[in-house]
Amino acid sequence: MSEGTEDGEDRPAVVTRGLGKSFGDVVAVRDLNLEIGRGVMYGLIGPNGSGKTTIIRILSGLLSASTGEAWLLGERVPARANRPRIGYMPQEMAIYTDLTVHENIDLFGEMYSIPAEERAEREDSLLAMIGLKERRDSLVSNLSGGMKHRVSLACALVHDPELVFLDEPTVGVDPELRKGFWDYFANLKARGKTVVLTTHYMDEAVRCDAVGMMRLGRMIAEGAPMELIESTESATLEDAFIAKAREESA
């Protein structure tokens, strides 16, 4: 794997080699070897504390890895040069509650140096997508939890990134809206974007092209959801996870 920022189309969106992270005695992630191709919707699934957020934060350049290395779109992490092409939605809400919906989206648009006119257009279409057109000028602190979540998603997508990390994007989102979210992720994928998301609601991850099952910082299985379900003769992805976890413990 060569370093460099030029974007060979052949380069995978995400590559990690022996990636690991410890916090003192706690090993949050160990020996992770990932390869996520372009235009793929990839799900990191596993229970709380299994290391999903830690992986996303290392890839986003917010945490340094204890071991191993990683590349995004061909650039070694922390991939500064590729930042304009990468989006990140943190697990926490991470939006300014003392600003309006518009001001939040506009701020992040500005951080990506999107020209004002284009920024307004992007904002319009994102507001339509998250169904908050009427709340454009509401303070975020006056919105419901689900609405805040949608604003957070919009902020991550304001620059139409090629690669987007979504950490638990559907937590606290009501079922009806959750389906809308997944439709939107599928739409991103259809437009050639790479989507890497995490979820501890394992069953909803069947809509991913591939999932990696995380348990105690280790990836215990990886593959297409249906294959994982069939190979373990399970009914759901969650059952498949349990079967794989048993296999590993044995």
Partner: protein, 380 residues
């Protein structure tokens, strides 16, 4: 450094202040309140200080000297006199003890007689035991005690000169180089200005950044192309502006309400405040990485503010700070800001005179900005 992104961060910071009406109001009214309170408490000349005079003086052949002094004293505005005549009228000392008066002046019964004798002796070139005037003072407020004593001393000199043509053997010729019409408020208005700028920028910065850290927005900003320097610079620009607005509020209030005079350049004063504000917000930023919650952030405030209020020469000069603590004063950036503002406002000094202070403040601001940006760069 992308200026547009930096301004984007600055705009966002100001926008959130705009939405938070209470905080925005606080930012404007706090300095107004501070200067008004301090101004009315310490400001202006003392007036109508209650003083009781117990006059037991029997007088002399050329009239009563105590009466002349009393008349002269009552012509001024500083003291409000209550004169009690006659032997055994009241115990003056007790009046002060009971806090019915700030001071009691007691003329002994032989006051004029002895004074006349002393004057005669002086003319003859010999000496005589002078008349006794006892002053009982309530020292609870040193300002008042000092003012009463000064008033009495100068009045006596005037009476001696007018009535007896006597001059003290040594004449002191005093000439005010700076601050001819300066009152106490002129002295501390620059101090309050610096203090307010420092307090508010520090407070806003530490609380905003603790908030940014705990909610994850700071992390999120860091994943965008915005650099650490742009984020830190954007905040510095926004909070520096807040400090400027505050200083203008204080200056306008001080000038309109208390007739404070600004001898030097107002721009130089504002530049000083800007540097102090930027440095203080940087300090707030750095300490925000130690504080885990907003509550912990609030705990930093007294640690930073008390030494500044007490040791930086805001209300009394550095020279009044105990020598043991004085080195600490020189480590407090506010010291330099207050010194510079005061010199410009009262002495009318310009950049050529106050550049050392400005240099220290610029170094402080630069160091804080660089350290802040660096601390953001370090990933865990």
């Amino acid at each position: 450094m992308n200026v547009r992104r930096m301004m984007g961060v600055a705009r966002k910071t100001l926008r959130s202040l705009r939405h938070d009406r209470r905080t925005a109001g606080f930012l404007v009214f706090m300095p107004l309140f501070m200067i008004a309170i301090f101004g009315y408490t310490f400001g202006g000349d003392l007036k109508d200080v209650d003083v009781v005079i117990v006059n037991l003086d029997a007088g002399g052949e050329n009239g009563s000297m105590s009466a002349m002094i009393i008349e002269e004293l009552s012509s001024g505005e500083t003291l409000r006199l209550t004169v009690l005549e006659g032997a055994g009228a009241v115990d003056g000392e007790q009046l002060v003890r009971d806090a019915d008066a700030w001071a009691a002046i007691v003329f002994a019964s032989d006051f004029t007689a002895r004074a006349d004798a002393a004057v005669d002796a002086m003319r003859a070139g010999t000496t005589a035991y002078p008349g006794v005037l006892s002053v009982y003072l309530d020292g609870t407020n040193p300002n008042i005690a000092q003012a009463v004593l000064t008033e009495i001393a100068t009045t006596m000199q005037r009476v001696l000169l007018a009535q007896y043509g006597l001059m003290p053997p040594i004449a002191v010729s005093g000439e005010m180089i700076y601050g001819e019409d300066a009152e106490f408020i002129d002295f501390f208005a620059p101090g309050v200005m610096g203090l307010a700028a420092m307090m508010v920028t520090f407070m806003l910065s530490i609380i905003s950044f603790v908030h940014e850290r705990t909610t994850g927005t700071l992390d999120r900003l860091l994943t965008t192309p915005a650099t650490e320097g742009e984020i830190v610079g954007g905040y510095a620009a926004a909070l520096g502006l807040v400090a400027l607005v505050q200083s203008v509020v204080i200056l306008v209030t001080a000038v309109l309400l208390f007739d404070v005079e600004v001898e030097g350049s107002i721009l130089l004063v504002l530049a000083t405040i800007l540097l102090l504000g930027i440095g203080s917000q940087g300090l707030g930023f750095l300490l925000s990485s130690i504080a885990k919650t907003e509550f912990q952030a609030v705990q930093f405030m007294p640690i930073i503010l008390f030494p500044s209020i007490l040791l930086a020469g805001v209300f009394w000069p550095i020279e009044a700070v105990p020598e043991l603590l004085r080195p600490v004063s020189y480590f407090i950036p506010l010291t330099y800001a207050v010194e510079a503002c005061r010199s410009v406002m009262i002495r009318g000094w310009d950049l050529g005179d106050v550049w050392p202070q400005l240099l220290v403040l610029a170094a402080f601001a630069a160091a804080m900005l660089i350290l802040s940006a660096y601390s953001l760069k370090r990933r865990r």
